[in-house]
């Protein structure tokens, strides 16, 4: 039997994620471990690579929310296998507090963004949906977060985003924390007007914006 190269294990993992195949992802993760592939490398160059490709297909409108969710299910299944074998924890690129603004319970978009942040190497604290502005601020302060990421799908709740920025300023912690916003009714103009630092049109772009905001692009 020919020995498989490390790279071919990465490709198997990445492909299984892109193909939305949970079972194959788990098999590929186990195969990689058995062959002595480092768990951290398998996550970064296999699973995360798969999610990055899925994100690219989403941007190109080949994949939509259902496909992206299925890819992330496969990715998390692989992660469950690999995580216990992590020798060293890779350096986090920063901490992000994310949530959907109070008054809005639409969280698919936010969940997509969270997944892309996690696979992009960020530590993510997910406050869920229908979150009061003050909770974003308190959590960011306590966790020494680098970024607060706010989402809403509704025009009725957009103003809560401005409130978060205001509360940060009032608490004198605006300087240390970047705010990024997104969601259906949000435009770059709106982001600028409320004093946010970044705007992303979708989940794939959100990671790039976050990396720029922490100076790590």
């Amino acid at each position: 039997m020919m020995l498989k190269s490390k790279e071919s294990f990465f490709i198997d993992l990445s492909d299984a994620v892109v193909d939305m195949d949970e079972e194959r992802t788990v098999t590929a993760a186990n195969a990689a471990l058995e062959a002595g592939v480092d768990a951290y490398d398998a996550i970064q160059q296999g699973l995360s690579d798969g999610m990055a490709r899925a994100g690219q297909l989403f941007e190109e409108e080949e994949y939509f929310i259902p496909e992206l969710l299925m890819c992330s299910d496969a990715m998390y299944a692989g992660l469950d296998v690999l995580k216990p074998h992590l020798k060293q924890v890779g350096e986090s690129r920063g901490t992000i507090v994310i949530g959907v603004i109070e008054g809005d319970t639409h969280d698919i978009g936010k969940n997509m963004v969270r997944i892309m942040f996690e696979t992009g190497g960020f530590k993510v604290i997910d406050l869920g949906r229908d979150v009061p502005p003050q909770r974003f601020v308190d959590t960011a302060r306590e966790s020494k977060a680098d970024i607060i990421a706010l989402s809403t799908l509704m025009t009725t709740t957009m103003d809560g985003m401005g409130t978060v920025v205001k509360l940060l300023s009032e608490g004198n912690i605006r300087d240390g924390i970047k705010v990024m916003v997104g969601g259906g009714p949000i435009s770059p103009g709106f982001a600028k007007r409320i004093g946010a630092d970044g705007y992303a049109v979708n989940a794939a772009e959100a990671v790039k914006v976050a990396l720029e905001l922490v100076g790590n692009a």
Partner: protein, 356 residues
């Protein structure tokens, strides 16, 4: 008939026949903004058909647009089937919990009884009262959420989109029961003298792709529209967000008019399906209507008319989606005024003006 005295019904009828009109039809899509017109709190609309009617009538009389649409939130139908809806004191209601959480419970879902369930009776009362007061001059419609969208409120959006890949049969069962509800509610709306106005935000390409649209949205839209056509009513179908890849399917499903959001291009829609359906849209509800100044609204209206004013099957100047509750009155007025100023046939000189 004097053009200056055209009522919306006369205007729409003449426009459909290709006869002269005074101006293009104009529909700022008013939902809970109507509460502001009569100084009411949004939550007062709950279970109060009389108040909804009063607000919708006052709003129409204040602004003089061309279609009245009874609408408070997207969840009316799903709520009547068991979904839990939260009603903040003075903001639009939102979904608190879906009707079911597991596919095992799909068989427990029942189609609505419009005269009994949830807030349907009060919405029907609102339509009836509005049509009694104004039905002789303006079309009165009632919002009906389409099967795929209702299905998402019944089992949860994330659940539903996963099921489109994992268990398509379960999605079809959900859409089927949602369709039966939509048909029953549409029948009741028509019996009240109004026209169902279809809305299907979850079928947006921001959520599902054209493949899933074709499999899970299209067949049920088609059957719902067929039912409404059978009752002698024409159909406007609104889908939020990106829709370019499903315009043909929206037309294939039988819609007479498609209402598109600001994420979609009016000029593109005219080019793609303007010879098949009337186009309606798409002034930005938040950036322009909520946050802009009247000059921004006028400019946006001119831009819309420049793109779609000559569409073969007609064009209605509208907001891209329901207006946010706090949309300034001045902006709604500016929208209707700008359409009147452009007039008909469309004055190209006015369109090319870059100032306001």
């Amino acid at each position: 008939m004097s053009l200056a005295l055209m009522t919306p019904l006369q205007r729409l009828a003449a426009y459909a026949k290709g006869e002269p009109i005074d101006r293009l039809p104009c529909v700022p899509i008013i939902g809970n903004t109507a509460a502001r017109v009569i100084g009411a709190k949004v939550s007062q609309f709950r279970g109060n058909g009389k108040l909804i009617a009063e607000a919708q009538i006052a709003s129409y009389q204040k602004f003089g647009y061309d279609v009245i649409r009874v609408f408070t939130d997207l969840y009316t139908l799903a709520e009547a089937m068991g979904a839990r809806v939260h009603y903040p004191e003075d903001e639009t209601a939102y979904l608190a919990a879906p009707a079911i959480t597991s596919i095992e419970d799909i068989s427990k879902l029942q189609p609505v009884e419009p005269s009994r369930d949830g807030n349907l009776p009060s919405h029907l009362e609102a339509m009836q009262r509005t049509v009694e007061a104004l039905g002789h001059e303006v079309p009165v419609t009632g919002a009906v959420s389409c099967p795929f969208t209702t299905a998402s409120f019944l089992i949860g959006a994330e659940n539903l989109v996963r099921l489109t890949i994992k268990n398509p049969e379960a999605v079809h069962r959900l859409c089927e029961v949602a369709l039966q509800s939509a048909i029953r509610y549409s029948a009741a709306i028509i019996a009240a003298g109004c026209t169902p106005s279809l809305t299907d935000p979850m079928s947006s390409s921001n959520v599902i792709g054209p493949r899933q649209f074709k499999e899970f949205s299209y067949p049920y839209l088609q059957r719902l529209i067929e039912f409404i056509h059978g009752q002698g009513r024409s159909v406007t179908l609104h889908i939020c967000g990106k829709t370019e890849k499903v315009w043909q399917l929206m037309a294939d499903a039988g819609a007479d008019c498609i209402s598109i959001d600001n994420d979609a291009s009016l000029a593109g829609a005219v080019h793609a399906v303007g010879d098949r359906v009337r186009i309606m849209g798409n002034v930005h509800p938040s950036e322009i209507m909520l946050q802009g100044a009247p000059e921004d609204v006028r400019r946006a209206v001119r831009d819309c008319v420049a793109q779609a004013g000559g569409s073969p099957k007609g064009f209605i100047v509208a907001s891209g989606c329901s207006l946010p509750t706090e949309t300034p009155f001045a902006n709604i007025r500016a929208m209707v005024d700008a359409v009147a100023e452009i007039g008909w046939p469309v004055d190209a000189d006015i369109l090319s003006r870059s100032d306001s």
